[in-house]
Amino acid sequence: MENSNKTTRREFIKVVTLSGGGLFLASFVPLQNIFSNTGDDPKIFAPSVYLKIDSNGVVTIIFHRSELGQGVKTALPMLIAEELEVDWEKIVIEQSDADPKYGNQSTGGSTSIRLNWEPLRIAGATARVMLVTAAASRWNVSPENCLAESGFVINKLNNEKFSYGDLVEDASKLPVPKDVKLKDPKDFKLIGKRIHRVDTPDKIHGIAKFGIDIVVPGIYYAAVSRCPSIGGKVKTFNSTKTKSLPGVIEVVQISNGVAVIADSTWHAFNGRDALIIDWDYGPNANVNNEDIRNELIKNTRKEGFEWEGRGNVNKEIAKGEKVIEAIYEVPFITHAPLEPMNCVAKVENGKAELWVGSQTPQDARSSVARTLGLNEDNVTVHITLMGGGFGRRLVNDFAVEAAEISKASAKPIKLTWTREEDMKFGLYRPPSMHVLKGSVTEDGRPLKFSHHVIAPSIIQMRFYRELPPKDYDIKEGTVDLQYNIPNMSITGTTIATHVPISWLRSVYHTQNPFAVESFIDEMAFAANKDPYEFRRDMLPDNSRLKNVLNVAAEKSGWGKSLPKGKGMGIAISECYESFCAEVAEVTVENNRIKVDRFVVVIDCGIVVNPDLMESQMQGAIAFGLSAVLKGEITIKNGGVEQSNFDDYQILTYNEMPVVDVHYIQNNYKVGGVGEVGIAACAPALCNAIFAATGKRVRRLPVRLNSI
């Protein structure tokens, strides 16, 4: 029996612009007032889709985003528990399915906390107010005389109390109040605390189920063969040998290639490897890395679209004015999360059920519905834990493949990609080139600065067919305008590529700050100024950016004398509503780079959980250094050359520097955390390399032998 009481609909639709990028709709879900009771089951009070309390007092918080290591499965429930006034240790956290009733479920753009900061606290506070109201009316006192604490409502006049469980029946009959008052940050009990992650024990005991660990009754295992040249297709295929191999059950063709279904993952891999496929290599079969690079180079000589600017960078060169120019460049890189792509799909009787580690489960649902020609109501998507994502799991190509295989074979299957497929058929951070010109006056003041960004456009690849004339995404991370330089120009050019580019942790912040903050260092050098002081003097007083810069200089011991071969570099970034400064300390010997230490200073407003924030900053340095020191994907004959962690290396344990994280304590609105630490990492490191060696790194990954 389900008894839906009077529902007050309050729907906030917020349009949030993600760092100059795609529009994400964040709708706060209409609060419901559900009271259900089936037989002897406990009665349940569910005043919003994000939480329910049963008559035994069990509080269940629904986690509606994706957990891929960033810790939001802990941080988001903290927001509800804070306002609900319940003991953290007693709450139950339940992963939701994909469902529009939760509003935006896309875990990307460092938005989980930013977009849920208010809605989830309102959800917690609303439930608390209703429970207090129910208790007050039982006692016949004013709600002001009641206090909610640790899952109880206490009558302040006589210290009587009711547990939340005692009150669910009464509370669920009440109208949902509007405009509940949220806590003053000074009264926070959970927010700001180093609460342990809720999922650590299961993960380290090997019990936690990632997508790749899911099985369903009657499951088979699938592997796919795809055309090595991106954009190619199957002409014909011969599966005679495959079908003769142990464990192979069936071979089916799908949009992306040929799938083998077997009784185990290993048998599916072996069967896939034995397929003989005649490929139509398609329109990109002759495209090599140099062709893409040449397209970038060609555009460095052209004018870009004017985005922003001030003054006149083309003003005649004054007496004593020192002019410098440089071109910076970054290659394709890829996410390479340690859990390769996978998905369990069961398509039968016009319905599809999926278990998938997706950062965009609602998109997985609609993409599968569209591909299979089903109504979305007939597609269920269960969200699993993810072994890393870094943006790779924002695109659901692997879930669509799994659904196609299950439909074609009429079997529940688990599709597992190999590491080689992850490297070769993944998604890639676009390459870019940056033309920078600047000048300083005779006495070392900055005068002119221009930056022309040339890069493929992710939003064009993902959302449009035509190149958008002005893709604001490719400008993100150009902090240039914060600097008080009288003459500035920022221009951009988007180019086409056949390589499937996509969002990678901090997106264009992986490249623009590298170019800009390295070049600002070059300008400081030309001006004969200290790189820290040069930046400081260009930033507005009392700005949050200037503050993190100053704190980073102080905490790192900036300016201390260092032995030969050692150097320090500094860089700043502003992204995802947060501000960050980083100082790198390196030792370079015979062109071998040892990163000794990173000092990271972040101002992300109110910090929900400092331990989670710090681990994100530490991880961002590892992720950033992997890209700067090692990351490069290259294209040959239309396909990706790299295939595993031997030719696409990432940072290792012994290469990891010490990372000291400091944060600014204030009550500004919460900013993003997950991606913020990446932006300043590359320039801080390369500026440190310059300080140590005099070698200016302008092309990534760093190859000191060729400078």
Partner: protein, 150 residues
């Protein structure tokens, strides 16, 4: 398909798989012991590390037919004692992020500590287990703490 009897976490299992099947897939698909993870298939990442007679080995490159009488321990076996100092330290220091590589990290370290390896041997062993989230900073802190206690 041939039949193999293997000992995993002190239990004997009989499996019927293709000769040449890596232990990793026997553990995961046949025995349902999914705590041992697949990351690369070529002994490059270390996610799939298990103990073979107490020694840390990559299960993605061990053929099922080569196991014979060896005793295999997986993360589930190590976790039969949740009070193991590694687990306690891992929770205290909140080492994990996504958690996917952590069984491999823990199994490697557990074997090294058990063998009374030197600090350099431990660091070299840990250097071969990849973590994409970048938990290395905290893994080192955990190694500091555990090797000090030892």
């Amino acid at each position: 398909m041939p039949k193999y009897t293997i000992t995993v976490n002190k239990k004997k299992y009989s499996v019927e798989v293709d000769a040449g099947t890596p232990l990793l897939w026997v553990l995961r698909d046949n025995l349902g012991l999914t705590g041992t993870k697949y990351g690369c298939g070529e002994a490059l990442c270390g996610c799939c590390t298990v103990h073979v007679d107490g020694k840390a080995e990559r299960s993605c490159v061990i053929n099922v037919e080569d196991i014979g009488e060896s005793s295999i321990t997986t993360i589930e076996g190590l976790a039969e004692n949740p009070d193991h100092p590694i687990f306690k330290t891992w929770i205290d220091l909140e080492v994990s992020q996504c958690g996917y590589c952590q069984p491999g990290q823990i199994m490697t370290l557990a074997a090294m500590l058990e063998q009374n390896a030197t600090r350099k041997e431990i660091d070299d062993a840990m250097d071969s287990i990849l973590c994409r989230c970048g938990t290395y900073h905290r893994i080192r802190k955990a190694v500091d703490k555990l090797s000090e206690e030892k």
